[in-house]
Subunit: 626 residues, 2 copies
């Protein structure tokens, strides 16, 4: 999919005397949308008591001022600043609440795409109640919680004597905690988003990374944050620029607020600067380009053993620029090690490609043999009759006598000879989750004693993850015929984007081949992770790496990622309930790989910071068929 | 939404020796897609016994011959003609079945968009089983059942002595019955469609209309049906042309089969002729243009009483070119009748617009008064506070003292004066279903004894309906939180297109205003319809008409439709289970309108040809809130 061509940038206004004029000016200055108060800031409303109580008149501007497409595409509504829905004073609270609901309902009446809700402190549970109630009603608009990226008063140098009481105070002052309190009260509602306002000082990278796991929809930059460059144009500091670039990755919309501080250049200059930063990003390459448009999109893991892959799926595999080259190198080295130069004329090596698909590993093996000047015969073993059509055709048209095509399940094959080298790629996003261990164990009877397996080893990895977005995607997955929590007991293949990884990955399960009997492919492991900042835990990201032969590897684990490879996205194991994590605490997760005669499945649970139910007990929601 | 610009027309081939060449020729001749055998017709396959049984080779052409986008966008697969899945002979049947599954799986492997399945007689239950099993599996493609529009042998003149035995025979020979048998066995599967082949003789219009209630996705015209015009080009007879135009209305794709019989013109000429017919259709007008893109799309009926309508909804209402003119005429006539010329100077008529929305009926009333030269004062009564913002603004800017805006529910209003004329439009697609009766009863206290109500009467209508499409749309509506059949106990507002109306509408419930107390808005009625042709009954279409004043009417009932009006689409009451109807039989339906203190709902059931459960008993799945 093509990358977006242009940054979406809005203008945030605090007072709009003439709406069509303001819209025109903003559009002329290159802005894509406008944020403005839903109700005129000076129109006083008193519902509970006071002299304005029984006034009969329009409380807002008429909807006739703009065509409805404009309201619904170009205008973000701002709630009044004076609302104090969480005030202690009953009259103030009740009055604010009625006014709040009036504004929210009017925003829904106009079909505005989003409403900006200012959030200034941790006392927000009544605000949360009003918003949650409204979102559960008939409205459709987004609710953007407007928070600063850190509290204006926060300074890193402010070390306080008593760390315990400091911790307490500090949480109440942290905007992320304001947001988290509100979001938890609203049950992680899918229409909640964040309008993140940049502050002059920026918080640590850990805190910024945590925001990147939140549903940031909009970023607000005040004109007062801008510096002036030599030519007199507004520009941002390096730190702010880096923040902007991180935000672009989440496809966030930008918003400029405050008066123009570069009047000779026009307000246009701020929008143009954002566009400039957007256009200065390096073009997407490798997996980023390949995955464009699939970010945070949940896919059910393939089951290439029980299902037959489609032609399209093979076609995509075969475009990977890294995987087949590495396999070819591995076969080359294995051939060189196995057959000494002196014996190369007299030896024919039997290579079996197990799970040959449409043949790319057959081709790679033949190329490796040619390069190594070793003579081989390749058996291409594949159980998918549709892919076999391609293999038979390739044999006919290209490979000839070098290759024998066998349409069978490798676990049932009565092979006419034994193998010197087996080559397979039966790996899933979590390594063993496409049942490579079980399939290759089934090939054991037709391996020579010194048979080399490519790959010879693979290992899975896990990291704890925060992602409001993925949690909501899972929630949406409900299928009618399944038990209502089944979708939280299933892993998903997903290109991770709007997530925050809370600790570095640790290894989980390892398998080696050829396996020494008696083989047991059941596994159990627990891992403990260190959590630095307060966060919400929504699940775990899974990766894998594999040793093909010698030092030739493939990896999706971020620290050893095989640059450019796009055959695998990470896997995501969700949790049914988001778990609140405190800074400097631990997360202990338990993972099981269970095997029965007809299927394999994972189970998982936490014991720290709290015990959770074991997910997917007995494979009740998700199994992989043998 | 814009109309489609161009007809989609494919070329149906029976043998394709060189696929990319055939694709190129077809595309060069202007065709959008190609239908071709999935497996080479002469590649013999024997699975059960016979000499080809253990042959090891490719059974189809390789997927590498086309890029996967082409397979999935441009190629419709044809099943082999020799398959006899319903043969009595076990070997023939089993062999056919294995070959059928192989072809279907290969079609899925290639991600073909659709597969053409020939259906030649009524013995098709094993074929249905195979298709149903396949569609419930992992495939995604459409299954197009290829049937002639009538059996080739059928002749209207073939009158047979014994009508009973004739009836029996005739059913077995009717392609619609072949299709209906298969479709019922497949449980009305949503991916089933029809490829309808035109025959030289065409059936009666009743039979054609019945096909229009079926999911016809593709229409096949053999080159042998074409005549030759004076210039030597292929053209269709008037009867065939009229069929084509009816098919266009369902957005059907066309397909040309058979050898070119106008070789000097090229096969292109057939495609061009179809395109010519497509372009010769008159441009869409009125409600057709308005509803383009919404055909057969289910909407939940609005509840303007308990919910507040949105700005966009009012904006759409207000564009209706008919409704407000009729209201204006009605108010004009009422004023002329009420206030004699002699008294016009001394009389001020009190008009109350009840449910004024954003004011169009207020404007219509003022215009009528001006035209009638009668002096009036208008009360604009509206309970939606958001719409009231517009009313207050209009009073400020335009209406001034002529109008008083009152933000209240009419049922609770303590009016300062009594009304001479009340004007309201509280009607839904089924007339009373937006609770106009209950609202206007609530206005009774502030009406003068001789008060005129505009409208003074409205009546609902029902017709029995066949529509595979709508049945499937309802099936898809499942909501997780509701009981699994709730979606079949709810009416839907829908622009009817892929439907067949089985008898003309009959009136159901009538309400008149002002109502004479004691009023009772509960109703019960049963209706009996005559069914001419065999059909499946999927539910009922509902309409209404209303008398505004004197002879001024609005109607959505087809025989009296107010040309050009688009404020209302019909309503659809579904049935949980499709009911098979025999020709010359009767359908008796019972309808209830029930009223409780907080809501109103409909219940419905059949007693002929079979009794069904009463749908929506106690309003368990759908009520309208008071
Ligand atoms: C992930 S694909 C790899 C295909 C190809 N080697 C490539 O790298 O592009 C795995 C293939 O193994 C096949 N396969 C899986 N389990 C198998 C088994 N038990 N016996 C034979 N083939 C198997 C699948 O049908 C599929 O074609
Ligand atoms: C179908 S709309 C018609 C609006 C407008 N008269 C027009 O024709 O465009 C019905 C209107 O009646 C209002 N309404 C419905 N029930 C009402 C009630 N009981 N009291 C006051 N207004 C009501 C609704 O809010 C809505 O604005």
């Amino acid at each position: 999919m093509a990358a977006q061509q242009h940054v979406s940038c809005g203008r945030c206004l605090s007072c709009v005397p003439d709406i069509s004029n303001s819209m025109q000016l903003a559009s002329y200055a290159g802005f894509d949308f406008v944020a403005m108060p839903i109700v005129h800031p000076r129109f006083q409303r008193e519902f509970v008591e006071g002299k304005a109580k029984d006034r009969v008149a329009a409380f807002a501007r008429s909807d006739l001022l703009l065509p409805s497409q404009d309201w619904s595409a170009l205008v973000v509504g701002k709630l009044s600043e004076w609302l104090q829905v969480d005030a202690e004073n009953t009259v103030v609270r009740q009055n604010s609440q009625v006014a709040l609901m009036q504004e929210l309902n009017y925003a829904a009446h106009l079909s505005l795409p989003a409403v900006l809700v200012p959030l200034n402190n941790i006392n927000c549970v009544n605000l949360a109640r009003c918003l949650y109630s409204h979102m559960q009603g008939h409205s459709n608009h987004q609710v953007w919680i407007h928070v600063p990226i850190q509290a204006p008063g926060t300074m890193v140098d402010d070390v306080v004597e008593n760390p315990v009481s400091f911790d307490e105070t500090s949480k109440d002052n942290e905007p992320w905690h304001w947001w988290n309190t509100l979001r938890r009260a609203c049950n992680h509602h899918k229409r909640l988003g964040i309008a993140l306002e940049a502050t002059l000082d920026l918080p640590s990278q850990d805190v910024i990374d945590r925001w990147m796991g939140e549903p940031v929809k909009c970023a607000i930059f005040s004109t007062s944050l801008f510096l002036t460059n030599k030519k007199g144009f507004p520009v941002l500091s390096k730190a702010h620029q880096s923040l902007v670039v991180q935000l672009f990755r989440l496809d966030v919309q930008m918003m400029i607020k405050g008066t123009n501080r570069h009047p000779d250049k026009g307000i246009k200059a701020y929008q143009q600067y954002m566009e400039h930063l957007y256009q200065s990003q390096p073009p997407l390459g490798g997996v980023d380009a390949f995955a464009k448009g699939y970010e945070d999109y949940l896919q059910c893991p393939l089951q290439p053993l029980s299902d037959n892959l489609e032609s399209q799926t093979y076609e995509i595999f075969e475009k990977d620029p890294v995987k087949y080259t590495r396999y070819q190198e591995a076969v080359y080295k294995a051939l060189m090690d196995k057959v000494p130069e002196a014996q190369k004329a007299s030896t024919k090596t039997i290579i079996m490609v197990l799970g040959a698909g449409r043949g790319p590993l057959v081709t790679a093996s033949l190329k490796a043999a040619e390069q190594a000047e070793r003579s081989v015969h390749v058996y291409a073993v594949e159980k998918n009759p549709n892919a076999a059509v391609t293999l038979f055709t390739l044999k006919e048209d290209k490979w000839g006598d070098l290759v024998t095509v066998v349409l069978t399940d490798m676990r049932e094959w009565e092979a006419p000879v034994k193998a010197d080298i087996i080559v397979s790629e039966l790996l899933g996003s979590f390594g063993d989750n496409e049942l490579s261990p079980e399939c290759l164990d089934g090939a054991q009877p037709f391996l020579k004693d010194d048979c080399i397996s490519i790959p010879c080893k693979y290992t899975s990895y896990l990291s704890p993850l925060m992602s409001h977005k993925l949690y909501n995607e899972v929630k949406l997955c409900k299928e009618k015929d399944k038990n209502p929590e089944a979708h939280f007991e299933t892993p998903y293949v997903v290109r991770l984007q709007n997530v925050s990884v809370l600790d570095k990955p640790q290894s989980v399960f390892t398998f080696t081949h050829p396996a020494k009997p008696p083989t047991d492919n059941q596994r159990y492991k627990h891992l403990t992770f260190d959590i630095k900042e307060d966060a919400e835990l929504h699940g775990f990201a899974g990766y894998f790496d594999t040793v093909l032969y010698g030092d030739i590897m493939l990896s999706t684990e971020p620290s050893t990622y095989s640059e450019g490879m796009f055959s695998w996205f990470p896997i995501f194991f969700p949790l049914k309930t988001p778990i609140h994590l405190n800074a400097n605490s631990k997360v202990t997760v338990h993972f099981w790989r269970n095997v029965k005669s007809r299927n394999v499945w994972y189970e998982w649970s936490l014991t720290e910071p709290v015990a959770t139910p074991i997910h997917n007990i007995n494979g009740q929601s998700y199994t992989i068929s043998l």
